[in-house]
């Protein structure tokens, strides 16, 4: 049970990492292919930050008093 849970968490981490890499590549493409890319870049950055804070930093766990 514990091992299965650990594997599931590790898999989730890998998917988050893949999502971050894909978003970075999209960001790079937008920067050079789209005129006035600032707004698109900001939106992608906010998604990036949310992914890291929610899945890697466990933001929503902050208010829990116990695990």
């Amino acid at each position: 049970m514990g091992e299965a849970r650990k594997r599931a968490k590790l898999r989730l981490g890998l998917w988050v990492f893949i999502a971050l890499i894909v978003l970075t590549v999209v960001e790079l493409w937008i920067a050079f292919a789209v005129p006035r890319p600032l707004l698109y870049l900001v939106v992608i950055n906010l998604v990036d930050a949310w992914l890291i804070m929610e899945y890697f930093m466990h933001l929503s766990r902050m208010w829990r008093t116990e695990e």
């Binding site: 590790l10 981490g13 970075t24 960001e27 890697f56 933001l59 902050m62 695990e67």
Partner: protein, 185 residues
């Protein structure tokens, strides 16, 4: 005497304290990021090494994955995997700093610190690099304490705190990278 045998778990308080620290650090970086737009608008120098910028961004994102794996491992009592991933995070963080060093060597020639872009570039990457360096030092402490078996399923806060700090450094870079390398008019 009434408290004998009662153990209060401070983890909740520690987490809130750490997030408040991140919030205050966030304001610092927000001020530095906004200075880029105030001084330069949306202009982007052509001399920027885009390949290097992308490479160090990938390295830092990868280091966040290994840090996450280290934390997950120790939470499940897997000491070996925890040590391997902590060491990988330290190495990737150091590689990032080497990348920033190369970037600086090029930047000194293309846009020296006394130019407008140079001021913004060296301040942002320097301040962020200092945070990465401090993260590497903290991770090294965690690694050596972990090697002595100081952490386990019931004592994970030092690992969690340092790993969270590492992810925070990654979040900051997620905003610095496009601000310096990608934004244009």
């Amino acid at each position: 005497m009434a408290h004998v045998g009662v153990r209060y778990d401070h983890t909740h308080t520690r987490r809130i304290g750490l997030w408040l620290f991140f919030l205050s650090e966030g304001f610092l970086f927000l001020a530095l990021l906004s200075s880029r737009y105030y001084l330069l608008g949306l202009s982007r120098p052509q001399e920027l090494n885009q390949a290097l910028g992308l490479a160090i961004t990938t390295v830092l994102l990868l280091s966040s994955l290994t840090a996450y794996r280290a934390e997950t491992s120790i939470l499940h009592g897997d000491q070996g995997m925890f040590l391997r991933n902590t060491l990988a995070t330290i190495l990737l963080g150091s590689l990032f700093l080497v990348g920033v060093g190369i970037e600086w060597a090029e930047a000194f020639l293309s846009f020296p610190p006394h130019t407008q872009f140079g001021t913004v570039f060296f301040t942002l990457t320097g301040m962020h690099g200092f945070h990465v360096l401090s993260g590497v030092v903290l991770l090294t402490f965690v690694y050596f304490h972990g090697k002595r078996g100081r952490f386990g399923e019931t004592n994970t806060w030092p690992v969690e705190g340092v790993v969270k700090y590492w992810h925070f450094v990654d979040v900051v870079w997620v905003f610095i990278y496009p601000t310096l390398y990608l934004v244009s008019s």
